[in-house]
């Protein structure tokens, strides 16, 4: 596979595509000057608070706001009756009340809103709201939810989607058959900056909202509908975002904050606490997955049968798309001739689930990679060899019938992680407790410690699938200031930490040969960029900036031809100058432009995709795929169940690294989130109630949990994409979880069919319970 060659007109400019240009936002971030949404302030602003249901399922008999209104400093108490427009919202299915009116479907569901002069007064008033609830028994088992006699939580029933794959012969048999049932827990995105924003009522009756979000325009559509405002009266500007990982794709406080601001005529700020944040956004779907794999004695996959049940919780969020992904990627990056998959996403009274990094592919990967290890064991084969033998490659057919057209270096990635050097076994003398599981708790001096090695590979779609009109918009303006050419780039792409800001700057530098590029704030005065999700922004908004730059360049060369004579093709841009190929005349861009500027706006679309057939799952649903492999090395205290991950190694094809340093950062951060799901991250939900809504009880990896990494980045150029890029962000989150758990199995010999693995699982106290 050769990388796509891009025509470069200008000589290399500093900080262009392929360099580790420093982020445009890192100086303000290290100085504490970067304005996160939680830092916003406006003259005369009020503070909003949300009243939430303490019950996972209940009927609301009555709501009494009288007492709440008497609290000093309170300016408004609003209920569902005050929603100016559509009382429901939702990204894919409009099923979620802005404020509940008759039925509560999850613990923490918003019921009323308060605005007060001080956050403490707002919370005090929220406590004084009297709601008469009739508690109902919550429906919390997703398998039970799809039984015909289960209580129906929505008028449409409890089934959000049932996606299927029917491929090949359903009755085929195989020499070796293995089965397994696997579970993944509800994971939280756990971004560090809780939900917050500032809504400012405008003189035209509209609203300006400054908010940390992932997709400005999908927020805008939902806001306008629920506020009863035309879309041009709702303006959204991206405030500083403290991480996202999927959790900011759905609305949280956006409508609420705007309602309070419009009602009071004052700016209103809302800011969730960490505890409220756990109730304020969707989580990763917990999954229960039953798999059966059939293979020949030589280790060729014959069939895969899978049933995957995803708990969507109380509202649909992006469950339909998560379900489609779990289905399409259910078998992993392998060639499998006969496939039967049934994946269900269902409503329950558990917390709503939706987007999180890896989006349906994470859950399936844990199951199919666990099955591949189990199969290797049954066949007496090396697990990496088994994977390589069945590896998908360019030209392979997915179980959905889609032919994988771009690079698919599955065997190559596995070979690379397998061949990386191993860290030294054993421990240096003198003994350093920090290098042992349990660390300085002094739980072992090396006795009972076993080392394990595990491998996994995963894949996932890049960008939106199944026929959605996926596009990104960018506006680029070239002008001269102080005798030097300058470029402004404007898009609505949400910089959530991943680095799409500097990517846009790098693309403009390379395309126009101009080093001074400024990125304007992301807002809704420019067209949609789509979501900062699905590993799509570098491809999509990168592509839009590239197209807009090409259009600007074409107009500049036309102008040169007009002023200097000849045709535009006689001219090129070199080092900030326009050069005529025919007679060598040179003119600086700044002189040519004078006081004029050239501005162009372009939309970029990837090629069309198609829905999966509802009965067979067949269809070209995806535009491209990202692949990553991991090797994990763990030390396990087999007596106490304590684990230390010694090293993570990974190989990933990123197509083209626009910014190699950012690529590594994404791979490291994504791998850490996968490690978290393998070892510690679980929102513990008991009878519909979250038991650990805090960072003291919901654990994410610390710097001691996360080991050093070895990273091998391949750049195999996808011919479909600008510069050959592929998305980077999600793939590392997918394969790191099963690799870590495979290593734990290698060390302990236990089945470990549930992620995260707990100490009691490691020592074998729960083996029966899982089955």
């Amino acid at each position: 596979m050769t990388p796509t060659k891009e025509r470069t007109i200008a000589p290399p400019v500093r900080g262009g595509v392929g360099t580790s240009a420093r982020r445009q936002d890192s100086v303000p971030k290290v100085k504490g000057e970067f304005a996160y949404s939680s830092d916003l302030w406006a003259e005369g602003m009020l503070w909003g608070a949300t009243v939430r249901s303490p019950h996972p399922r209940a009927a609301i008999r009555s709501l009494d706001i009288t007492d709440a209104l008497t609290v000093s400093g309170v300016h408004a108490v609003l209920t569902h009756e005050d929603v100016p427009g559509r009382k429901l919202f939702g990204m894919e299915i409009v099923d979620q009340p802005v404020l509940a009116w008759d039925e509560i479907r999850y613990e923490g569901e918003p019921v009323a809103l308060v605005a007060a002069d001080h956050p403490e007064n707002a919370r005090r008033a929220a406590d004084r709201l009297r709601v008469d609830y009739e508690e109902l028994p919550p429906l919390v088992d997703p398998e039970r939810a799809v039984e015909p006699d289960a209580p129906q939580l929505h008028a449409s029933g409890n089934l959000i989607r049932h996606a299927r794959i029917r491929c090949g012969d359903p009755a085929v048999t195989a020499d070796v058959v293995i089965e397994g049932t696997y579970e993944t827990a509800m994971q939280d995105q756990a971004f560090l900056g809780p939900e917050s924003g500032l809504a400012v009522p405008a003189e035209d009756g509209g609203i300006d909202l400054y908010v940390a979000t992932q997709w400005l325009h999908v927020d805008l559509e939902q806001l306008a509908a629920s506020l009863g405002l035309p879309q041009d009266k709702v303006r959204i500007t991206l405030a500083g975002v403290g991480g996202a990982f999927g959790a900011r794709e759905d609305l949280s406080m956006q409508i609420h904050c705007c309602m309070l601001a419009l009602y009071t005529g004052r700016p209103v700020k809302m800011m969730y606490s960490r505890e409220e944040s756990f109730f304020g956004h969707v989580h990763r779907h917990p999954a229960r997955m039953h798999y059966e794999h059939g293979a020949t004695r030589e280790g060729e996959l014959v069939y895969v049968k899978a049933r995957i049940v995803l708990d969507g919780g109380a509202y649909a969020s992006s469950s339909t798309a998560v379900c489609a992904n779990a289905t399409a990627f259910a078998c992993g990056p392998y060639e499998v001739p006969n496939v039967q998959v049934d994946a269900l996403a269902v409503y329950t009274n558990n917390p709503p689930c939706g987007a999180m990094r890896g989006f349906g592919a994470v859950q399936a990967c844990f199951a199919y990679e666990s099955q591949m290890d189990k199969l290797a064991d049954a066949l007496g084969m090396d697990p990496v060899e088994l994977r390589m033998k069945n590896a998908m490659s360019t030209g392979s057919a997915m179980p959905t019938g889609q032919i994988v057209e771009g690079p698919a270096p599955v065997a190559e990635l596995l070979r690379r992680v397998k061949e990386m050097s191993l860290p030294p076994a054993g421990h240096d003398a003198p003994l350093d407790l920090r290098s042992l599981p349990g660390g300085v708790s002094n739980t072992t001096h090396g006795e009972g410690i076993r080392r394990g090695v595990g491998y996994a590979i995963g894949f996932k779609n890049i960008a939106f699938s199944e026929g959605s009109d996926d596009f990104a918009t960018a506006r680029v303006r070239l002008f001269a200031a102080g005798g030097e050419p300058q470029v402004e780039v404007h898009s609505a792409a949400a910089e959530v930490g991943q680095g799409v800001g500097v990517v846009q700057i790098q693309v403009a530098r390379t395309e126009l040969g101009v080093e001074r590029v400024t990125l304007l704030p992301a807002d809704t005065t420019v067209g949609s960029a789509g979501s900062s999700s699905a590993s799509r922004q570098t491809w999509m908004t990168g592509g839009a900036v590239k197209s807009a730059c090409e259009a600007v360049r074409a107009r500049l060369l036309e102008r040169a031809a007009g002023e200097l004579g000849g045709s535009p093709s006689d001219f090129s841009m070199e080092g900030g100058k326009i050069v005529s190929q025919t007679n060598g005349i040179e003119v600086s861009i700044a002189d040519l432009l004078g006081r004029d500027s050239i501005e162009e706006t372009r939309e970029y679309r990837h090629r069309k995709t198609y829905p999966m057939d509802p009965e067979t799952g067949q269809g070209d649903a995806h535009v491209a795929f990202a692949f990553a492999a991991h090797r994990a090395i763990v030390d396990v205290d087999t007596e106490l169940g304590l684990v230390r991950v010694v090293e993570l190694a990974t190989a990933q094809d990123v197509g083209k690294a626009i910014n190699p340093l950012s690529v590594e950062g994404q791979i490291e951060g994504g791998s850490a989130q996968g490690l978290g799901l393998a070892l510690m991250e679980e929102i513990q939900v008991s009878n519909g109630r979250i038991r650990n809504p805090s960072f003291t009880d919901y654990l994410i990896p610390t710097v001691l949990d996360m080991p050093p990494m070895k990273i091998d980045v391949l750049e195999l150029g996808d011919p479909e994409a600008p510069y050959g890029v592929k998305g980077v962000g999600e793939a590392p989150t997918i394969s790191s979880t099963p690799a870590v758990i495979a290593a734990l199995r290698d060390a302990t010999g236990r089945a470990l069919e549930r992620a995260p693995v707990r100490p009691e699982d490691v020592v074998g106290l729960t083996e029966r319970e899982v089955r």
Partner: protein
């Protein structure tokens, strides 16, 4: 209300505060020093780390009245004469941040760590920053940034 008197980033402040007011909200809301972030409210994540009399402290679990008479340094007070602190430069240069929400806390914790430890291994840095969470970076470039800054701060050239 209680009267407190403290020095923040070299500037003396006298203020009236509620006895229950947390130091981080005093800094953010009364002094408008919003560089110090609140991530968890339970002193787990370390995003609110500042220096109190030169020692790193999580300002979400200190009361403003506890800082009476203290010398407080926040991220805004780290640069001197318009020149970024070596740690600020290193986090910028070595890509020690993504969303950046943890960064002020990471940097302030590292100031104390470097000041109180001689040559540190990566493992020493990891031990020292265990109380500061980052969700974006996987910590690799944070360790690298601190190592880079520690080297610069100890080199004879920098005084």
């Amino acid at each position: 209300m209680r009267r407190i008197s403290l020095t923040v980033n070299g500037v003396k402040h006298d203020a009236m505060v509620e006895p229950r007011q947390l130091l981080v909200y005093f800094l953010r809301e009364q002094l408008a020093l919003t560089g110090t972030n609140v991530g968890c409210d339970t002193s787990t994540c370390g995003a609110c780390t500042i220096l109190v009399n030169g020692k790193s402290a999580k300002s979400c679990t200190l009361l403003a009245v506890q800082a009476d008479g203290a010398e407080v340094t926040t991220i805004e007070g780290l640069a001197s004469n318009g020149e970024m602190h070596p740690l600020q430069k290193a986090f910028h240069e070595s890509h020690g941040l993504q969303c950046g929400y943890c960064t002020p806390g990471m940097i302030m914790a590292s100031v104390d760590l470097i000041a109180n430890n001689d040559a540190m291994s990566d493992e020493d840095i990891r031990m020292g920053l265990e109380g500061n969470l980052c969700r974006c970076t996987g910590y690799q470039n944070i360790v690298k940034s601190v190592q880079q800054a520690a080297g610069e701060m100890r080199s004879p050239a920098s005084t």
